[in-house]
Symmetry: C2
Subunit: 338 residues, 2 copies
C-alpha cells in the first residue's frame, strides 16, 4: 500500500561517509559546519549528502550532544480555549517567526491541569532546551521554579520577585502616558480612567501611566474606576463614573474590550464620542475597529513580544548573555474617538 512506515530506510551519516570516501567524523563536521575541513573533502561530502538526500537523525543527534534543539511553549491555561484566543495565537506567531530563523523546533504543551507534575517532569527530564511561559495572568509565575533546571522566559513581569526571572513585557506605562497625553493635548481637562485589575502588572502600570500624564499636565486624577478587562465590567465602570456627576470630557480605558463596554453606556446616556467625551483604549485588538467611532488606542505589540521571548530564550540556551528584562515600546494608533 502507500503508507508503509519505514519503506525506504533513511540514509545515515555512515552511508554518506562511505559514498564520500571519508570517515563519519568528517561528515559530522561538514554537516555541523565546522571549518577545519579541507575544501575538497567538504565538497564531496556535500555532494554525497545531496545525492543521498541525507538529513541528520534528530534523536541520535540529541542523544549524543545532549542538546535537543527544542523549546517548549508552555500554556498553563486549560486546553480548550487558549487557541481561540487571539493573544495567544499572536504570541505563537511571533515565536515561530523567530524560531524559523534558527534550528530550534517549537513544541507547544498545555499543562494538563489533571497532571501538572507530568508536565514538570517532562520539562525537567532533559527533553527540551528551554521553556517559554505564556499566561494571561501575567503575574502568575507558578512555573518559576523551572528556572532552577532550565532557561525559562516569561511573558510579562511577575508581581513579585521580578528580579529573579527573565521576562519580556510591553511598556504599559509608556503606552498609557501616550494615550492620556493625546487627551490632554486635545484640550480635555476632566480626564477619567477605567483601570484594569490592580493585582496584574498591566492593570497597575496602565493606571500609573494615566496618573503620570495627568500630573505632567497639572490635572486632577480622581476619576478612577476599576474593571476586570471584560466588556461588561467596562460598561459598569463607565456607569459608576458618570454617576459621580463630575465633569468628564476625556477617558482612558485600560483595554479595548472595556472601552467597548464604556461606549455602549456613553451612547445610552446620549453623549457623543469624541465631542462630549474623547476615548482612548489600549491593545489595538479586534474591538478597536469594530466599534463606532473607530477607537483611538495604544498598539500592543503581541507578535513582537513572542518574537523577543524566543530570541532571549535562544540566547540563554546558547550561553550568551541576555538582559533579565526587555520592555517593548508601544505606539498610539489614532482613529476617530480622540
Amino acid at each position: 500500500m502507500s503508507a508503509e512506515p519505514g519503506s525506504r530506510p533513511a540514509p545515515t551519516l555512515e552511508m554518506v561517509a562511505a559514498l564520500a570516501g571519508v570517515s563519519r567524523a568528517t561528515v559530522s563536521r561538514v554537516v555541523n559546519g565546522a571549518q577545519s575541513v579541507a575544501p575538497h573533502l567538504a565538497e564531496s561530502v556535500e555532494e554525497a549528502v545531496r545525492t543521498l538526500n541525507y538529513v541528520p537523525n534528530r534523536a541520535a543527534r540529541t542523544l549524543a550532544s545532549r542538546r535537543t534543539h527544542t523549546v517548549t511553549l508552555l500554556v498553563p491555561e486549560s486546553t480548550s480555549k487558549v487557541f481561540a484566543d487571539p493573544f495567544f495565537a499572536t504570541v505563537v506567531e511571533g515565536v515561530t517567526r523567530y524560531l524559523n530563523t534558527t534550528e530550534y523546533m517549537l513544541n507547544i504543551v498545555t499543562s494538563s491541569e489533571t497532571d501538572p507534575d507530568k508536565t514538570r517532569r517532562y520539562l525537567m527530564g532533559g527533553n527540551v532546551d528551554g521553556v517559554l511561559v505564556v499566561s494571561h495572568h501575567s503575574g502568575d509565575h507558578s512555573w518559576a521554579s523551572l528556572t532552577n533546571s532550565l532557561p525559562v522566559v516569561f511573558a510579562g513581569r511577575p508581581l513579585v520577585n521580578a528580579d529573579e526571572s527573565y521576562f519580556v513585557e510591553v511598556d504599559n506605562e509608556e503606552g498609557a502616558v501616550a494615550a492620556t497625553a493625546r487627551l490632554v493635548e486635545g484640550g480635555r481637562r476632566h480626564i477619567g480612567t477605567i483601570a484594569g485589575p490592580q493585582d496584574m502588572p498591566p492593570g497597575v502600570d496602565r493606571l500609573a501611566g494615566w496618573r503620570a500624564a495627568l500630573a505632567a499636565g497639572g490635572l486632577d486624577d480622581a476619576l478612577v474606576e476599576i474593571g476586570d478587562f471584560t466588556v461588561t465590567s467596562g460598561a459598569a465602570a463607565m456607569r459608576r463614573l458618570l454617576e459621580r456627576g463630575k465633569p468628564l470630557d476625556g477617558l482612558f480605558v485600560a483595554n479595548d474590550q472595556m472601552a467597548a463596554g464604556a461606549y455602549s453606556v456613553i451612547k445610552e446616556k446620549g453623549l457623543r464620542i469624541p465631542e462630549d467625551i474623547a476615548v482612548v483604549g489600549f491593545d489595538d485588538d479586534y474591538f478597536a475597529t469594530s466599534v463606532v467611532p473607530l477607537l483611538t488606542t495604544v498598539h500592543h505589540p503581541i507578535s513582537a513580544l513572542g518574537e523577543k521571548m524566543a530570541e532571549v530564550l535562544v540566547e540563554l540556551i546558547e550561553g550568551r548573555p541576555a538582559a533579565r528584562v526587555y520592555r517593548l515600546p508601544t505606539s498610539l494608533v489614532v482613529r476617530d474617538s480622540a
Copy 2:
C-alpha cells in the same frame, strides 16, 4: 546562578534499575507497561521511579525504538498569518485535545516557502511518525507524495484522486441541504444562493446541497451567483442577484463572511431580513454573531475536524485500520435571519 543547563543530570533508567535492584530491561518493561513482570518487582521499580523522579529520555527511546511519538501539523501557508486565523487555531485546538489523550507530541511546522524541500526532507528523515496537513485551499494536496513514506491525514477532500489519501472532511452538502430546507420549510419559494469557488470542494458541495434541497422541494434553482468566500465578493454577488429583477425571498450563502457582505447590500436596498429575504449562512464563525439580525447558519465543526484528523493519524501510525474518509456532521444554528 539559576539557569545552569544541566545542573542536576536527569535520572536514567540505569539509576532506577540500581535503586530497585533489578536489571535495566525490567525497568524498561515496567515503564512501558509490559505484563510479564512479577508484581513485587514492578512495585519496587515504580517506587524507585517515584523517588528518583525518573522520566524516560525521549531521544534515547526514539533512537532505540525508531518511533518518535511525534506528529507534525504541517501548515503550507506563509507563516505570518496562519496563527491569527481562527480556522487554523481551532483545528490546532482539536488536534491537541486528542493528542493529549495519547503520548504523542505535536510539532507545528509552517513549511517555509523559501525552502519547501527542507521541510520535506525533515519529514521524510524519520523525525516524525506522521503528518497532518491543514490548508485553506483544501483542494491542495501538493504534499500528497509524503504518503509514500509516512502516514498522512489531510483536512478536507482533494479535488482529484480523492481515493488515494486519508482525509477528514465536513459534510458540506448535508449542511447546505439543511440550511436550504430551513428556507423551504419557512415558506420561501424563490430561493437564491451565493456559492463559493467551484474549484474547491466546499464551494462545490455547498452548491450541490442547495440544488438538492430545492429539487426536493420542487423549486427553481436558477438564482446562483458565485463569490470567493470574502465579504466583498458576497456583497458583489448579492448585487448581481438583485439586479436580475427576479423574485427573491430566501438566500443560502456558502459562508458567513459572504453573508455579511450580502447583508449590507440587502439593507442598502431597503429590504428587511428576514421579512423580505430570509438568509442562512454556513460556518457559524465570528461573523454570524456580529451582524444584525443574528445569522442563522450551519455550524462547521472545525475543532472536531482537528480531533478526528489526529485520531485517524494515530490509528494509522499504530498500524490499526482506518477509513480513508471521515465525513463530519454539521448542525443548523437557528438565530434571527431565517
